[in-house]
Protein backbone atom coordinates (compact mmCIF):
# COMPACT_ATOMS: atom_id res chain seq x y z
CA UNK A 1 0.00 0.00 0.00
CA UNK A 2 1.49 3.31 -1.05
CA UNK A 3 1.36 6.47 0.96
CA UNK A 4 -0.92 8.24 -1.46
CA UNK A 5 -3.48 5.49 -1.29
CA UNK A 6 -3.67 5.50 2.49
CA UNK A 7 -4.00 9.27 2.50
CA UNK A 8 -6.86 9.03 0.05
CA UNK A 9 -8.67 6.49 2.20
CA UNK A 10 -8.62 8.92 5.11
CA UNK A 11 -9.94 11.75 3.03
CA UNK A 12 -13.47 10.45 2.43
CA UNK A 13 -13.03 9.48 -1.20
CA UNK A 14 -16.65 10.09 -2.16
CA UNK A 15 -16.43 13.77 -1.40
CA UNK A 16 -13.50 14.32 -3.69
CA UNK A 17 -14.74 12.08 -6.44
CA UNK A 18 -14.85 13.83 -9.78
CA UNK A 19 -18.38 12.69 -10.54
CA UNK A 20 -20.42 15.27 -12.44
CA UNK A 21 -23.07 17.26 -10.58
CA UNK A 22 -26.40 15.50 -10.74
CA UNK A 23 -24.89 12.07 -11.11
CA UNK A 24 -26.70 9.34 -9.22
CA UNK A 25 -23.54 8.47 -7.39
CA UNK A 26 -23.16 11.98 -6.05
CA UNK A 27 -22.78 11.72 -2.28
CA UNK A 28 -25.98 12.64 -0.45
CA UNK A 29 -24.43 12.56 2.97
CA UNK A 30 -22.58 15.78 2.26
CA UNK A 31 -25.89 17.63 1.90
CA UNK A 32 -28.03 18.48 4.92
CA UNK A 33 -31.56 17.09 4.95
CA UNK A 34 -33.85 19.10 2.71
CA UNK A 35 -36.70 21.15 4.18
CA UNK A 36 -39.28 18.45 3.48
CA UNK A 37 -37.24 15.49 4.67
CA UNK A 38 -36.36 17.35 7.86
CA UNK A 39 -39.94 18.50 8.42
CA UNK A 40 -41.30 14.99 7.89
CA UNK A 41 -38.75 13.55 10.27
CA UNK A 42 -39.92 15.91 13.01
CA UNK A 43 -43.60 15.70 12.13
CA UNK A 44 -43.55 11.92 12.39
CA UNK A 45 -42.94 12.16 16.13
CA UNK A 46 -46.02 14.28 16.72
CA UNK A 47 -48.91 11.83 17.02
CA UNK A 48 -51.65 14.45 17.01
CA UNK A 49 -50.31 15.91 13.79
CA UNK A 50 -50.25 12.45 12.20
CA UNK A 51 -53.86 11.87 13.23
CA UNK A 52 -54.63 15.23 11.65
CA UNK A 53 -52.83 14.25 8.47
CA UNK A 54 -54.81 10.98 8.35
CA UNK A 55 -58.08 12.89 8.71
CA UNK A 56 -57.06 15.30 5.96
CA UNK A 57 -56.19 12.42 3.61
CA UNK A 58 -59.57 10.73 4.17
CA UNK A 59 -61.33 14.08 3.75
CA UNK A 60 -59.47 14.81 0.50
CA UNK A 61 -60.15 11.31 -0.79
CA UNK A 62 -63.90 11.49 -0.14
CA UNK A 63 -64.14 15.10 -1.33
CA UNK A 64 -62.27 14.46 -4.58
CA UNK A 65 -64.34 11.33 -5.26
CA UNK A 66 -67.57 13.28 -4.73
CA UNK A 67 -66.38 16.15 -6.92
CA UNK A 68 -65.38 13.65 -9.59
CA UNK A 69 -68.81 12.02 -9.43
CA UNK A 70 -70.48 15.42 -9.55
CA UNK A 71 -68.50 16.56 -12.59
CA UNK A 72 -68.79 13.34 -14.58
CA UNK A 73 -72.34 12.54 -13.52
CA UNK A 74 -71.42 8.96 -12.61
CA UNK A 75 -74.09 7.24 -10.50
CA UNK A 76 -76.35 10.28 -10.76
CA UNK A 77 -73.64 12.71 -9.68
CA UNK A 78 -72.88 11.43 -6.20
CA UNK A 79 -70.97 8.58 -4.58
CA UNK A 80 -73.16 7.36 -1.74
CA UNK A 81 -75.48 4.45 -1.02
CA UNK A 82 -78.61 6.60 -1.56
CA UNK A 83 -79.48 9.75 -3.46
CA UNK A 84 -78.78 12.52 -0.91
CA UNK A 85 -81.64 14.73 -2.07
CA UNK A 86 -84.49 12.32 -2.86
CA UNK A 87 -87.06 12.17 -0.08
CA UNK A 88 -88.60 8.85 0.90
CA UNK A 89 -91.39 9.68 3.32
CA UNK A 90 -92.12 6.06 4.20
CA UNK A 91 -88.80 5.76 6.05
CA UNK A 92 -88.64 9.24 7.61
CA UNK A 93 -86.97 9.82 11.00
CA UNK A 94 -85.51 6.34 11.40
CA UNK A 95 -82.74 5.85 13.94
CA UNK A 96 -79.38 4.49 12.73
CA UNK A 97 -79.58 0.93 11.40
CA UNK A 98 -77.54 -1.35 9.17
CA UNK A 99 -79.12 -0.05 5.97
CA UNK A 100 -78.95 3.59 7.17
CA UNK A 101 -75.91 3.81 9.44
CA UNK A 102 -76.54 7.49 10.28
CA UNK A 103 -80.34 7.13 10.23
CA UNK A 104 -82.77 9.02 8.00
CA UNK A 105 -83.94 12.61 8.22
CA UNK A 106 -87.41 14.14 8.55
CA UNK A 107 -88.29 13.43 4.93
CA UNK A 108 -86.54 10.08 4.73
CA UNK A 109 -83.25 11.12 3.13
CA UNK A 110 -80.24 9.04 4.15
CA UNK A 111 -78.15 11.12 6.58
CA UNK A 112 -74.98 9.13 5.80
CA UNK A 113 -75.29 9.88 2.07
CA UNK A 114 -75.95 13.55 2.73
CA UNK A 115 -73.00 13.84 5.12
CA UNK A 116 -70.75 12.12 2.59
CA UNK A 117 -71.81 14.19 -0.40
CA UNK A 118 -71.55 17.45 1.61
CA UNK A 119 -67.80 16.80 1.87
CA UNK A 120 -67.58 18.15 -1.65
CA UNK A 121 -68.88 21.57 -0.60
CA UNK A 122 -66.42 21.79 2.27
CA UNK A 123 -63.48 20.73 0.14
CA UNK A 124 -64.36 23.17 -2.64
CA UNK A 125 -64.85 26.08 -0.23
CA UNK A 126 -61.64 25.27 1.62
CA UNK A 127 -59.53 24.98 -1.50
CA UNK A 128 -61.01 27.78 -3.59
CA UNK A 129 -61.34 30.35 -0.80
CA UNK A 130 -57.79 29.74 0.34
CA UNK A 131 -56.54 29.84 -3.26
CA UNK A 132 -58.10 33.27 -3.80
CA UNK A 133 -56.61 34.57 -0.57
CA UNK A 134 -53.28 32.96 -1.33
CA UNK A 135 -53.09 34.34 -4.86
CA UNK A 136 -53.66 37.87 -3.57
CA UNK A 137 -51.37 37.40 -0.58
CA UNK A 138 -48.55 35.83 -2.56
CA UNK A 139 -48.72 38.57 -5.17
CA UNK A 140 -48.81 41.51 -2.75
CA UNK A 141 -46.80 40.22 0.23
CA UNK A 142 -43.50 39.69 -1.59
CA UNK A 143 -43.76 43.03 -3.43
CA UNK A 144 -44.34 44.71 -0.10
CA UNK A 145 -41.43 43.02 1.66
CA UNK A 146 -38.98 43.19 -1.21
CA UNK A 147 -39.42 46.80 -2.29
CA UNK A 148 -40.24 48.33 1.09
CA UNK A 149 -40.84 52.09 1.12
CA UNK A 150 -44.04 53.52 -0.32
CA UNK A 151 -45.24 50.25 -1.91
CA UNK A 152 -44.83 48.50 1.41
CA UNK A 153 -46.66 51.24 3.32
CA UNK A 154 -49.62 51.28 0.94
CA UNK A 155 -50.05 47.50 0.83
CA UNK A 156 -49.66 47.06 4.58
CA UNK A 157 -52.02 49.91 5.45
CA UNK A 158 -54.65 48.33 3.19
CA UNK A 159 -53.98 45.03 4.95
CA UNK A 160 -54.49 46.80 8.31
CA UNK A 161 -57.94 47.90 7.17
CA UNK A 162 -58.88 44.32 6.29
CA UNK A 163 -57.60 43.18 9.68
CA UNK A 164 -59.80 45.74 11.36
CA UNK A 165 -63.05 44.11 10.26
CA UNK A 166 -64.39 41.38 12.55
CA UNK A 167 -64.06 38.38 10.28
CA UNK A 168 -67.43 36.64 10.39
CA UNK A 169 -69.44 39.87 10.35
CA UNK A 170 -67.59 41.20 7.34
CA UNK A 171 -68.03 37.95 5.43
CA UNK A 172 -71.72 38.15 6.35
CA UNK A 173 -71.96 41.69 5.02
CA UNK A 174 -70.29 40.67 1.75
CA UNK A 175 -72.56 37.67 1.32
CA UNK A 176 -75.64 39.79 2.06
CA UNK A 177 -74.53 42.24 -0.60
CA UNK A 178 -73.43 39.67 -3.18
CA UNK A 179 -76.41 37.44 -2.43
CA UNK A 180 -76.40 34.09 -0.68
CA UNK A 181 -74.97 31.09 -2.42
CA UNK A 182 -72.00 28.89 -2.84
CA UNK A 183 -69.81 31.03 -5.12
CA UNK A 184 -70.22 34.17 -3.08
CA UNK A 185 -69.21 32.37 0.09
CA UNK A 186 -65.74 31.56 -1.14
CA UNK A 187 -65.31 34.91 -2.85
CA UNK A 188 -66.11 36.60 0.46
CA UNK A 189 -63.81 34.37 2.51
CA UNK A 190 -61.01 34.71 -0.03
CA UNK A 191 -61.29 38.49 -0.26
CA UNK A 192 -61.12 38.85 3.46
CA UNK A 193 -58.27 36.53 4.33
CA UNK A 194 -55.60 37.61 1.82
CA UNK A 195 -54.17 40.12 4.28
CA UNK A 196 -52.87 37.53 6.72
CA UNK A 197 -51.02 35.65 3.94
CA UNK A 198 -49.59 38.91 2.63
CA UNK A 199 -48.37 39.84 6.10
CA UNK A 200 -46.77 36.45 6.75
CA UNK A 201 -44.98 36.36 3.40
CA UNK A 202 -43.84 39.94 3.79
CA UNK A 203 -42.23 39.08 7.11
CA UNK A 204 -40.28 36.13 5.80
CA UNK A 205 -39.32 37.97 2.61
CA UNK A 206 -37.80 40.70 4.77
CA UNK A 207 -35.51 38.17 6.40
CA UNK A 208 -34.74 36.18 3.25
CA UNK A 209 -33.93 39.15 1.03
CA UNK A 210 -30.75 39.96 2.91
CA UNK A 211 -29.32 36.46 2.39
CA UNK A 212 -26.20 36.04 0.30
CA UNK A 213 -27.77 33.96 -2.40
CA UNK A 214 -30.20 36.77 -3.16
CA UNK A 215 -27.28 39.15 -3.46
CA UNK A 216 -25.64 36.62 -5.77
CA UNK A 217 -28.75 36.51 -7.95
CA UNK A 218 -28.74 40.30 -8.09
CA UNK A 219 -25.08 40.35 -9.03
CA UNK A 220 -25.80 37.84 -11.78
CA UNK A 221 -28.21 40.37 -13.25
CA UNK A 222 -31.54 38.65 -12.48
CA UNK A 223 -34.59 40.89 -12.78
CA UNK A 224 -36.51 41.96 -9.67
CA UNK A 225 -39.52 39.82 -10.53
CA UNK A 226 -37.33 36.81 -11.10
CA UNK A 227 -35.55 37.34 -7.80
CA UNK A 228 -38.82 37.78 -5.90
CA UNK A 229 -40.78 34.93 -7.39
CA UNK A 230 -37.89 32.63 -8.33
CA UNK A 231 -35.58 32.98 -5.34
CA UNK A 232 -37.10 34.86 -2.40
CA UNK A 233 -40.62 33.44 -2.39
CA UNK A 234 -39.75 29.72 -2.61
CA UNK A 235 -37.54 30.20 0.43
CA UNK A 236 -40.23 32.07 2.37
CA UNK A 237 -42.95 29.48 2.11
CA UNK A 238 -42.67 27.36 5.28
CA UNK A 239 -44.93 29.58 7.44
CA UNK A 240 -47.30 29.90 4.49
CA UNK A 241 -47.91 26.15 4.39
CA UNK A 242 -48.90 26.31 8.05
CA UNK A 243 -51.42 29.07 7.32
CA UNK A 244 -52.77 27.16 4.35
CA UNK A 245 -53.59 24.19 6.60
CA UNK A 246 -55.18 26.47 9.22
CA UNK A 247 -56.85 28.58 6.53
CA UNK A 248 -58.59 25.61 4.90
CA UNK A 249 -59.91 24.56 8.32
CA UNK A 250 -61.06 28.14 8.95
CA UNK A 251 -62.76 28.44 5.56
CA UNK A 252 -64.64 25.18 6.18
CA UNK A 253 -65.90 26.50 9.53
CA UNK A 254 -66.86 29.84 8.00
CA UNK A 255 -68.84 28.17 5.20
CA UNK A 256 -70.57 25.97 7.75
CA UNK A 257 -71.36 29.02 9.89
CA UNK A 258 -72.77 30.96 6.94
CA UNK A 259 -74.83 27.97 5.81
CA UNK A 260 -75.97 27.49 9.40
CA UNK A 261 -77.19 31.10 9.43
CA UNK A 262 -79.00 30.39 6.18
CA UNK A 263 -76.98 32.62 3.87
CA UNK A 264 -74.42 30.12 2.61
CA UNK A 265 -75.07 27.01 0.59
CA UNK A 266 -78.80 26.80 -0.05
CA UNK A 267 -80.90 23.66 0.45
CA UNK A 268 -81.59 21.11 -0.93
CA UNK A 269 -77.83 20.94 -1.64
CA UNK A 270 -76.40 19.33 1.46
CA UNK A 271 -73.65 21.15 3.34
CA UNK A 272 -72.63 20.32 6.89
CA UNK A 273 -73.64 23.80 8.01
CA UNK A 274 -77.13 23.80 6.51
CA UNK A 275 -77.75 20.24 7.73
CA UNK A 276 -76.84 21.31 11.28
CA UNK A 277 -79.30 24.19 11.07
CA UNK A 278 -81.97 22.15 9.24
CA UNK A 279 -81.98 19.30 11.79
CA UNK A 280 -81.73 21.44 14.93
CA UNK A 281 -85.44 21.16 15.78
CA UNK A 282 -85.32 17.37 15.50
CA UNK A 283 -82.49 17.24 18.01
CA UNK A 284 -84.72 18.98 20.50
CA UNK A 285 -87.37 16.35 19.74
CA UNK A 286 -84.88 13.62 20.62
CA UNK A 287 -83.97 12.53 17.07
CA UNK A 288 -80.30 13.13 17.70
CA UNK A 289 -78.81 11.23 14.75
CA UNK A 290 -79.69 13.82 12.12
CA UNK A 291 -77.80 16.51 14.03
CA UNK A 292 -74.96 14.43 15.42
CA UNK A 293 -73.33 13.12 12.25
CA UNK A 294 -72.91 16.35 10.27
CA UNK A 295 -71.59 17.94 13.50
CA UNK A 296 -69.07 15.14 13.92
CA UNK A 297 -67.98 15.34 10.28
CA UNK A 298 -67.37 19.07 10.65
CA UNK A 299 -65.62 18.87 14.02
CA UNK A 300 -63.35 15.99 12.99
CA UNK A 301 -62.37 17.63 9.71
CA UNK A 302 -61.57 20.95 11.35
CA UNK A 303 -59.63 19.20 14.10
CA UNK A 304 -57.61 17.44 11.38
CA UNK A 305 -56.55 20.70 9.77
CA UNK A 306 -55.81 22.47 13.06
CA UNK A 307 -53.75 19.69 14.59
CA UNK A 308 -51.85 19.08 11.35
CA UNK A 309 -51.26 22.83 10.99
CA UNK A 310 -50.00 23.06 14.57
CA UNK A 311 -47.70 20.09 14.06
CA UNK A 312 -46.38 21.55 10.84
CA UNK A 313 -45.66 24.84 12.59
CA UNK A 314 -43.69 23.09 15.30
CA UNK A 315 -41.85 20.98 12.71
CA UNK A 316 -40.82 23.93 10.55
CA UNK A 317 -40.03 26.36 13.36
CA UNK A 318 -36.25 26.79 13.46
CA UNK A 319 -36.44 27.91 17.10
CA UNK A 320 -37.69 24.48 18.13
CA UNK A 321 -34.93 22.58 16.32
CA UNK A 322 -32.78 20.57 18.63
Amino acid sequence: MTDTESAASFAEPQLDSPLPVGSENRPVSAKPLGLWADTWRRLRRNKLALVGLGIIIVFLFVGVAEIFAGVTGINGGYLAPYNPNTPNYSIAKQAPSLSHPFGTDYIGRDVFSRTLVATRISLLVGVIAVSIALALGLALGPLSGYYGGAIDSVIMRVADVFFAFPYILFVLLLVVVLGPGFTNVFIAIGLLSWASYARIVRGTVLSVKTMEYIEAAKAAGASDLRIIFGHVLPNSMAPVYVSIAMGIGGAIVTEAALSFLGIGVQPPTASWGNMISDYLNYLQAGQWWMELFPCLALVITVFGFISFGNGLRDATDPKLKE
Binding site: L169, L173, A257, Q284, V302
Partner: protein, 318 residues
Protein backbone atom coordinates in the same frame (compact mmCIF):
# COMPACT_ATOMS: atom_id res chain seq x y z
CA UNK B 1 -44.44 56.21 25.16
CA UNK B 2 -46.42 59.29 24.07
CA UNK B 3 -44.76 59.11 20.67
CA UNK B 4 -45.90 55.53 20.37
CA UNK B 5 -49.48 56.35 21.34
CA UNK B 6 -49.54 59.27 18.93
CA UNK B 7 -48.29 57.06 16.11
CA UNK B 8 -50.91 54.44 16.85
CA UNK B 9 -53.66 57.08 16.93
CA UNK B 10 -52.63 58.34 13.49
CA UNK B 11 -52.71 54.76 12.24
CA UNK B 12 -56.15 54.34 13.78
CA UNK B 13 -57.47 57.31 11.81
CA UNK B 14 -56.20 55.80 8.55
CA UNK B 15 -57.69 52.43 9.38
CA UNK B 16 -61.07 54.01 10.12
CA UNK B 17 -60.97 55.95 6.85
CA UNK B 18 -60.14 52.71 5.03
CA UNK B 19 -62.96 50.90 6.79
CA UNK B 20 -65.43 53.62 5.80
CA UNK B 21 -64.27 53.50 2.14
CA UNK B 22 -64.55 49.72 1.90
CA UNK B 23 -67.95 49.63 3.63
CA UNK B 24 -69.19 52.39 1.37
CA UNK B 25 -67.94 50.63 -1.77
CA UNK B 26 -69.62 47.40 -0.69
CA UNK B 27 -72.92 49.22 -0.25
CA UNK B 28 -72.41 50.86 -3.61
CA UNK B 29 -71.83 47.47 -5.24
CA UNK B 30 -75.24 46.17 -4.25
CA UNK B 31 -77.14 45.06 -7.27
CA UNK B 32 -80.34 47.00 -7.65
CA UNK B 33 -81.38 50.38 -6.42
CA UNK B 34 -81.53 51.01 -2.66
CA UNK B 35 -84.31 53.50 -3.35
CA UNK B 36 -86.51 50.65 -4.60
CA UNK B 37 -85.66 48.58 -1.54
CA UNK B 38 -86.49 51.43 0.76
CA UNK B 39 -89.69 52.40 -1.03
CA UNK B 40 -91.14 48.92 -0.77
CA UNK B 41 -92.76 46.73 -3.38
CA UNK B 42 -95.80 48.81 -4.27
CA UNK B 43 -94.14 52.21 -4.48
CA UNK B 44 -94.86 54.56 -7.38
CA UNK B 45 -91.91 55.57 -9.59
CA UNK B 46 -92.43 59.07 -8.29
CA UNK B 47 -91.93 57.96 -4.68
CA UNK B 48 -88.76 56.06 -5.70
CA UNK B 49 -87.42 59.19 -7.37
CA UNK B 50 -88.15 61.22 -4.23
CA UNK B 51 -86.30 58.74 -2.05
CA UNK B 52 -83.39 58.77 -4.46
CA UNK B 53 -83.09 62.55 -4.03
CA UNK B 54 -83.57 62.23 -0.25
CA UNK B 55 -80.72 59.74 -0.04
CA UNK B 56 -78.60 61.74 -2.44
CA UNK B 57 -78.33 58.78 -4.80
CA UNK B 58 -78.53 61.16 -7.75
CA UNK B 59 -75.22 62.77 -6.77
CA UNK B 60 -71.73 61.66 -7.92
CA UNK B 61 -70.07 58.90 -5.92
CA UNK B 62 -67.56 61.13 -4.09
CA UNK B 63 -70.35 63.43 -2.90
CA UNK B 64 -72.24 60.38 -1.65
CA UNK B 65 -69.14 59.16 0.16
CA UNK B 66 -68.69 62.60 1.73
CA UNK B 67 -72.25 62.54 3.02
CA UNK B 68 -71.78 58.99 4.29
CA UNK B 69 -68.70 59.98 6.30
CA UNK B 70 -70.38 63.12 7.53
CA UNK B 71 -73.29 61.08 8.86
CA UNK B 72 -70.94 58.56 10.49
CA UNK B 73 -68.96 61.32 12.17
CA UNK B 74 -72.19 62.51 13.75
CA UNK B 75 -72.96 59.03 14.98
CA UNK B 76 -75.83 58.71 12.52
CA UNK B 77 -75.99 55.17 11.18
CA UNK B 78 -79.16 55.59 9.17
CA UNK B 79 -82.56 54.11 9.73
CA UNK B 80 -83.74 50.53 9.66
CA UNK B 81 -85.80 49.70 6.53
CA UNK B 82 -87.73 47.17 8.55
CA UNK B 83 -88.56 49.06 11.75
CA UNK B 84 -88.13 52.65 10.55
CA UNK B 85 -86.11 53.30 13.68
CA UNK B 86 -82.64 54.83 13.89
CA UNK B 87 -79.98 52.10 13.82
CA UNK B 88 -78.19 53.90 16.61
CA UNK B 89 -81.18 53.49 18.91
CA UNK B 90 -81.41 49.79 18.07
CA UNK B 91 -77.72 49.37 18.84
CA UNK B 92 -78.07 51.17 22.14
CA UNK B 93 -80.74 48.75 23.29
CA UNK B 94 -78.75 45.70 22.13
CA UNK B 95 -75.31 46.64 23.47
CA UNK B 96 -75.81 45.94 27.21
CA UNK B 97 -76.83 42.32 26.58
CA UNK B 98 -73.90 41.79 24.27
CA UNK B 99 -71.52 43.46 26.71
CA UNK B 100 -72.74 41.22 29.52
CA UNK B 101 -72.11 38.12 27.42
CA UNK B 102 -68.70 39.32 26.23
CA UNK B 103 -67.44 40.15 29.71
CA UNK B 104 -68.70 36.85 31.15
CA UNK B 105 -67.11 34.86 28.32
CA UNK B 106 -63.75 36.59 28.74
CA UNK B 107 -63.81 36.02 32.52
CA UNK B 108 -64.40 32.31 31.86
CA UNK B 109 -61.64 32.07 29.28
CA UNK B 110 -59.09 33.30 31.81
CA UNK B 111 -59.36 29.83 33.37
CA UNK B 112 -57.11 28.78 30.51
CA UNK B 113 -54.19 30.56 32.19
CA UNK B 114 -53.71 28.19 35.15
CA UNK B 115 -54.35 25.21 32.87
CA UNK B 116 -51.68 26.34 30.43
CA UNK B 117 -49.17 27.09 33.19
CA UNK B 118 -49.77 23.69 34.75
CA UNK B 119 -49.26 21.99 31.38
CA UNK B 120 -46.03 23.85 30.77
CA UNK B 121 -44.60 23.07 34.22
CA UNK B 122 -45.43 19.39 33.71
CA UNK B 123 -44.29 19.22 30.09
CA UNK B 124 -44.36 15.72 28.54
CA UNK B 125 -46.31 14.21 31.44
CA UNK B 126 -49.63 12.43 31.01
CA UNK B 127 -51.46 15.52 32.34
CA UNK B 128 -49.74 17.73 29.84
CA UNK B 129 -50.64 15.56 26.86
CA UNK B 130 -54.19 15.08 28.11
CA UNK B 131 -54.69 18.83 28.55
CA UNK B 132 -53.03 19.72 25.25
CA UNK B 133 -54.98 17.14 23.28
CA UNK B 134 -58.27 18.20 24.88
CA UNK B 135 -57.46 21.83 24.17
CA UNK B 136 -56.74 21.08 20.53
CA UNK B 137 -59.98 19.14 20.11
CA UNK B 138 -62.12 21.82 21.76
CA UNK B 139 -60.38 24.61 19.91
CA UNK B 140 -61.47 22.97 16.64
CA UNK B 141 -65.17 22.83 17.57
CA UNK B 142 -67.09 25.51 15.70
CA UNK B 143 -68.84 27.75 18.21
CA UNK B 144 -72.33 27.11 16.84
CA UNK B 145 -71.84 23.34 17.07
CA UNK B 146 -70.85 23.66 20.72
CA UNK B 147 -73.78 26.01 21.27
CA UNK B 148 -76.19 23.45 19.83
CA UNK B 149 -74.63 20.75 22.00
CA UNK B 150 -74.80 22.80 25.21
CA UNK B 151 -78.34 23.84 24.47
CA UNK B 152 -79.38 20.23 24.01
CA UNK B 153 -77.55 18.71 26.96
CA UNK B 154 -78.17 21.34 29.63
CA UNK B 155 -81.31 22.98 28.30
CA UNK B 156 -83.33 20.18 26.74
CA UNK B 157 -82.01 16.86 28.04
CA UNK B 158 -81.10 17.75 31.63
CA UNK B 159 -83.43 20.73 31.65
CA UNK B 160 -81.47 22.57 34.31
CA UNK B 161 -80.92 25.89 32.55
CA UNK B 162 -82.96 28.11 30.25
CA UNK B 163 -81.60 27.65 26.74
CA UNK B 164 -83.01 30.62 24.88
CA UNK B 165 -83.84 34.26 25.30
CA UNK B 166 -82.99 36.79 27.97
CA UNK B 167 -84.63 37.47 31.25
CA UNK B 168 -84.47 38.99 34.68
CA UNK B 169 -82.98 42.27 35.68
CA UNK B 170 -79.50 43.68 35.87
CA UNK B 171 -77.50 46.01 37.97
CA UNK B 172 -75.70 48.74 35.96
CA UNK B 173 -77.07 47.10 32.78
CA UNK B 174 -74.50 44.27 32.75
CA UNK B 175 -74.22 42.71 36.20
CA UNK B 176 -76.88 40.05 36.75
CA UNK B 177 -79.15 41.13 39.62
CA UNK B 178 -81.17 37.94 39.92
CA UNK B 179 -81.03 34.23 39.12
CA UNK B 180 -83.33 34.64 36.13
CA UNK B 181 -80.83 36.92 34.42
CA UNK B 182 -77.79 34.92 35.44
CA UNK B 183 -79.29 31.59 34.37
CA UNK B 184 -79.96 32.92 30.88
CA UNK B 185 -76.38 34.06 30.69
CA UNK B 186 -74.69 30.82 31.75
CA UNK B 187 -75.06 28.64 28.66
CA UNK B 188 -74.07 31.23 26.02
CA UNK B 189 -71.20 32.52 28.15
CA UNK B 190 -69.85 29.05 28.89
CA UNK B 191 -70.14 28.10 25.21
CA UNK B 192 -68.06 31.08 24.11
CA UNK B 193 -65.76 30.75 27.10
CA UNK B 194 -64.88 27.05 26.78
CA UNK B 195 -63.51 27.35 23.25
CA UNK B 196 -61.37 30.27 24.32
CA UNK B 197 -60.24 28.44 27.47
CA UNK B 198 -58.83 25.82 25.12
CA UNK B 199 -57.12 28.39 22.94
CA UNK B 200 -55.78 30.43 25.87
CA UNK B 201 -54.42 27.37 27.67
CA UNK B 202 -52.66 26.28 24.48
CA UNK B 203 -51.09 29.71 24.04
CA UNK B 204 -50.29 30.08 27.75
CA UNK B 205 -48.47 26.75 27.67
CA UNK B 206 -46.38 27.86 24.68
CA UNK B 207 -45.59 31.25 26.24
CA UNK B 208 -44.67 29.69 29.57
CA UNK B 209 -42.41 27.09 27.94
CA UNK B 210 -40.54 29.84 26.13
CA UNK B 211 -40.09 31.91 29.29
CA UNK B 212 -38.98 29.14 31.65
CA UNK B 213 -36.15 28.33 29.27
CA UNK B 214 -34.92 31.92 29.08
CA UNK B 215 -31.70 33.15 30.60
CA UNK B 216 -33.25 35.41 33.23
CA UNK B 217 -35.22 32.52 34.67
CA UNK B 218 -32.04 30.47 34.84
CA UNK B 219 -30.41 33.45 36.59
CA UNK B 220 -33.27 33.66 39.07
CA UNK B 221 -32.84 29.96 39.87
CA UNK B 222 -29.08 30.29 40.05
CA UNK B 223 -29.25 32.99 42.65
CA UNK B 224 -31.21 30.58 44.79
CA UNK B 225 -34.70 32.06 44.68
CA UNK B 226 -37.39 29.70 45.87
CA UNK B 227 -39.16 27.89 43.01
CA UNK B 228 -42.45 29.55 43.89
CA UNK B 229 -41.03 33.00 43.33
CA UNK B 230 -39.23 31.92 40.14
CA UNK B 231 -42.49 30.69 38.66
CA UNK B 232 -44.92 33.31 39.93
CA UNK B 233 -42.80 36.46 39.90
CA UNK B 234 -40.26 35.92 37.17
CA UNK B 235 -41.85 33.54 34.72
CA UNK B 236 -45.60 33.99 34.89
CA UNK B 237 -45.47 37.78 34.78
CA UNK B 238 -43.72 37.66 31.43
CA UNK B 239 -45.63 34.70 30.07
CA UNK B 240 -48.92 36.45 30.78
CA UNK B 241 -48.31 39.26 28.33
CA UNK B 242 -49.15 37.44 25.07
CA UNK B 243 -52.16 35.76 26.67
CA UNK B 244 -53.60 38.97 28.06
CA UNK B 245 -53.27 40.35 24.55
CA UNK B 246 -55.44 37.51 23.24
CA UNK B 247 -58.01 38.05 25.99
CA UNK B 248 -58.14 41.78 25.26
CA UNK B 249 -58.65 41.27 21.56
CA UNK B 250 -61.30 38.63 22.29
CA UNK B 251 -63.17 41.09 24.45
CA UNK B 252 -63.07 43.59 21.59
CA UNK B 253 -64.31 41.01 19.12
CA UNK B 254 -67.11 39.77 21.38
CA UNK B 255 -68.31 43.27 22.27
CA UNK B 256 -69.13 43.64 18.59
CA UNK B 257 -71.66 40.86 18.89
CA UNK B 258 -71.38 37.09 19.05
CA UNK B 259 -73.67 36.50 16.11
CA UNK B 260 -73.60 32.68 16.08
CA UNK B 261 -73.98 32.19 19.82
CA UNK B 262 -76.64 34.85 20.19
CA UNK B 263 -78.54 33.34 17.28
CA UNK B 264 -78.49 29.76 18.59
CA UNK B 265 -79.60 30.88 22.05
CA UNK B 266 -82.02 33.51 20.66
CA UNK B 267 -80.34 35.93 23.03
CA UNK B 268 -81.01 39.53 22.09
CA UNK B 269 -77.85 41.48 21.41
CA UNK B 270 -75.91 43.13 18.59
CA UNK B 271 -75.26 39.77 16.91
CA UNK B 272 -78.88 38.65 16.88
CA UNK B 273 -79.91 42.12 15.72
CA UNK B 274 -77.57 41.80 12.73
CA UNK B 275 -78.77 38.25 12.05
CA UNK B 276 -82.41 39.34 11.98
CA UNK B 277 -81.48 42.25 9.74
CA UNK B 278 -79.71 39.89 7.34
CA UNK B 279 -82.83 37.77 7.00
CA UNK B 280 -84.91 40.86 6.39
CA UNK B 281 -82.31 42.29 3.98
CA UNK B 282 -82.28 45.35 6.22
CA UNK B 283 -79.01 46.76 4.99
CA UNK B 284 -78.59 49.87 7.18
CA UNK B 285 -78.82 47.69 10.28
CA UNK B 286 -76.30 45.17 8.91
CA UNK B 287 -73.88 47.94 7.95
CA UNK B 288 -74.45 49.71 11.27
CA UNK B 289 -73.74 46.50 13.17
CA UNK B 290 -70.58 45.79 11.16
CA UNK B 291 -69.32 49.36 11.59
CA UNK B 292 -69.99 49.28 15.32
CA UNK B 293 -68.25 45.93 15.71
CA UNK B 294 -65.29 47.12 13.66
CA UNK B 295 -64.98 50.29 15.69
CA UNK B 296 -65.02 48.44 19.02
CA UNK B 297 -62.57 45.87 17.70
CA UNK B 298 -60.13 48.52 16.45
CA UNK B 299 -60.30 50.42 19.73
CA UNK B 300 -59.73 47.20 21.71
CA UNK B 301 -56.69 46.46 19.58
CA UNK B 302 -55.35 49.94 20.22
CA UNK B 303 -55.84 49.65 23.97
CA UNK B 304 -54.18 46.23 23.99
CA UNK B 305 -51.23 47.49 21.94
CA UNK B 306 -50.71 50.49 24.19
CA UNK B 307 -50.94 48.30 27.30
CA UNK B 308 -48.48 45.89 25.71
CA UNK B 309 -46.05 48.72 24.98
CA UNK B 310 -46.45 49.88 28.57
CA UNK B 311 -45.60 46.55 30.17
CA UNK B 312 -43.00 45.51 27.59
CA UNK B 313 -40.78 48.50 26.74
CA UNK B 314 -39.10 46.59 23.90
CA UNK B 315 -42.19 47.15 21.74
CA UNK B 316 -42.08 50.94 21.90
CA UNK B 317 -38.76 51.29 20.19
CA UNK B 318 -39.44 49.07 17.21
Amino acid sequence: MFGYIARRLVQLVFVLIGVSIITFLIMFLIPGDPAYLLAGKNATPQRVAEIRVELGLDKPIYVQYGRFVDRLAHGNLGESYQFERPVRQMLQSAIPNTAQLAIAAVLIELLGIPLGVYSALRQYTVWDSALTTTALIIWGIPVFVLAVFMQYVFGVYLGILPFYGNGGSTFLKVIPADWNNLSHLILPAVTLGIIEVAYISYMQRAAMLEVIRSDYVRTARAKGLPERSVILKHSLKNALIPVMTIAGIDLGALLGGAILTETVFSRYGVGLMVYNAINARDLPVVVGGVLFATFVYVIANLVVDVAYAYVDPRIRYE
